[in-house]
């Protein structure tokens, strides 16, 4: 199967500190890829490079064989790269519904309409409710986002990402802080998307059981470098990964 996203020698340095160091990977279309690595390994930074929040000091990124290295976040989102954020990043003073609705609206390409009323687009709201249902947040639809508990904000993040319906979904620790009960439910949601086989998913997580259960392929970053790549099982067996990342506990 073809690589939908490819990086070549992708690097970024902050001052003297190289956070992502010559990473070349291919992410296969419609597969589930996970990225693991110690704290500060450069995972989030790698996402930031892919989604355009940061621009690399070196190297390039290809999406479906187009060089997108120079494109902005917006353009990449429009092409089909969507992401969720590690630190919750929502519209704090808008309602939960409105948060999702804005994402739906963007997906429907209703962007510069200045003369029609936004409520005329009934479909958007319906779709937003649907998505909130998926992440167990429907009863909070009218709450203001800032008032949500931490775990609830994470769910909202996921709903917004789902709303964008992008070809690639970059998930940065989606279940961090989510309750024991809901982690499996969210995993279910992700699994469902995987089952549908329409989207490519890239996941950053520290929960190894999740990684093991979901991934087709695992990438390991360490000090910014890609040190291992392979199936979940290969990775767990890998000694470097064990000593650098997993520690004795697992």
């Amino acid at each position: 199967m073809a690589a939908i996203l490819e990086t070549k020698d992708l690097s970024i340095a902050f001052g003297g500190h190289v956070a992502v160091d010559r990473v070349s990977v291919q992410i296969t279309e419609k597969k589930f890829t996970s990225i693991i690595g110690p704290n500060g390994a450069g995972k989030t930074t790698f996402f930031n490079l892919l989604s355009g929040q940061l621009s690399p000091t070196n190297g390039s990124i290809y999406f479906k064989n187009h060089d997108i290295t120079k494109l902005s976040t917006t353009e990449r989102t429009r092409m089909g790269i969507g992401r969720s954020f590690q630190i919750t990043n929502v519209f704090p003073k808008l309602t939960v519904l409105e948060n999702v609705r804005l994402a739906v609206q963007s997906q429907a390409k209703v962007r510069y309409h200045m003369l029609s009323h936004y409520l005329h687009y009934k479909k958007f709201e319906e779709r937003a409710y649907e998505l909130l249902e998926v992440v167990f947040l429907k009863d909070k639809a009218k709450s203001i986002a800032v008032n949500l508990a931490h775990g609830e904000k994470r769910k909202l993040e996921i709903a917004m990402l789902l709303a964008l319906d992008t070809e690639i979904m970059l998930l940065d620790e989606p279940t961090a802080g989510m309750s024991l009960e809901e982690v499996p439910a969210i995993i279910d949601v992700i699994n469902k998307i995987k089952q549908q086989g329409e989207q490519t998913i890239v996941l950053i997580e520290h929960k190894m059981d999740m990684i093991m259960g979901l991934s087709d392929e695992v990438l390991v970053l360490y000090h910014g470098e890609l040190i291992a790549q392979g199936s979940p099982h290969e990775i767990v067996e890998n000694e470097t990964v064990q000593s650098a990342y997993l520690g004795g506990g697992v």
Binding site: Y112, L119, Y121, K142
Partner: protein, 317 residues
């Protein structure tokens, strides 16, 4: 309710001023309330509108034709300048943006001061009006009508999908970007809309005074309009209208008290106190506070929280 038919030219004049500043304040609300931009230089567009009209009216004969020509020039100039200002200042954050706009407006003031052949310097100049505007009643109706049309126009604008994105930008720029919206476009368009509407307010202002001087570029006016917007309630569009009315009337009424008792000669103290009281009792502006009473808007929280904190402070000390 706004009295639609009002007799007495001096009352009409006060209302005309309210309408004009309501339009100006609404344009400011597009920036402040809907896009989250604090500008200290919004008056530059107002001034552009005022001078464009005044200069065309004094250079050409006083006909409707040259008035319309003046309006066209005002709109084009304001759109152009607001576009440039928008583009120039987009990389700046909050205070820096505010200060840069202050500087730009300051440069316009200096230009008006210095380009004496065109502007008559700071004393200003008078000009003649086309026939229909000489009648106060029709001037009044014209301003009222403009206010109503602009209000509904802007309301539609803010309630459109586009307007919703503006609010999203106000809340969280980065996130809006990663939803696939080009925030630069939105901000520039908002800046142009606000600029053009403000310049139209300036056009009306010059008409209503039949006179223009460098005062139309003075920071005081930005401050006035800022206060009107905040008093009424930012992000509400009705608020600025109410704010304009309130500020004008508080002003009118308090300054009128000077005849009642010598103490009121210092009516400005009371006027300043009104501002302070508004923040204390209507922290979200009048319309904002009322709205939050009737709905579960987030804003309500801000106020209750503050009260709770205050109580806490009191109890602790």
């Amino acid at each position: 309710m706004v009295p639609f038919i009002l007799t007495g030219r001096s009352m009409q004049f006060i209302f005309i001023q309210i309408f004009i500043f309501a339009i100006f304040a609404m344009s400011y609300d597009i920036l402040l309330g809907f896009t989250g931009i604090i500008s200290f230089g919004h008056v530059m567009f107002f001034g552009i509108g005022a001078y464009s009209t005044a200069i065309t009216m004094s250079k050409f004969d006083s006909t409707i034709g040259s008035f319309l020509f003046g309006v066209v020039i005002a709109v084009i100039l304001a759109a152009f300048v607001s576009f440039i200002v928008g583009v120039l200042t987009l990389r700046l954050k909050s205070h820096f943006y505010a200060m840069l706009t202050l500087a730009l407006a300051g440069l316009f003031l200096v230009a008006a001061e210095k380009w004496r052949t065109l502007t008559g310097g700071n004393d200003g100049f008078t000009f003649r009006l086309p026939e229909i505007f000489r009648d106060s009643q029709s001037m009044y109706m014209f301003c009222l009508l403009s206010l109503i049309l602009i209000f509904f126009g802007l309301r539609r604008f803010t309630k459109s999908p586009f307007g919703r994105v503006l609010m999203a930008i106000r809340e969280n720029e980065n996130r809006t970007e990663s939803l696939g919206y080009k925030i630069v476009h939105y901000k520039v368009i908002a800046s142009v809309v606000a600029g053009v509407v403000a310049s139209f307010a300036g056009v009306l202002y010059a008409l209503s005074l039949r006179f223009v001087n460098t005062g139309v570029f003075a920071t005081d006016l930005t401050i006035d309009v800022l206060l009107m917007t905040i008093i009424g309630g930012v992000g509400t569009l009705v608020g600025p209208i109410l704010g304009a009315g309130l500020v004008e009337f508080a002003h009118h009424w308090l300054s009128g008290l000077a005849d009642v008792h010598w103490i009121f000669e210092r009516w400005i103290i009371l006027y300043g106190t009104v501002y302070i009281l508004v923040v204390i009792f209507f922290p979200l502006g009048i319309v904002g506070t009322i709205q939050s009473r009737f709905s579960n808007r987030p804003l309500k929280g801000l106020r209750d929280n503050r009260k709770a904190n205050e109580n806490k402070g009191r109890r602790a000390s």
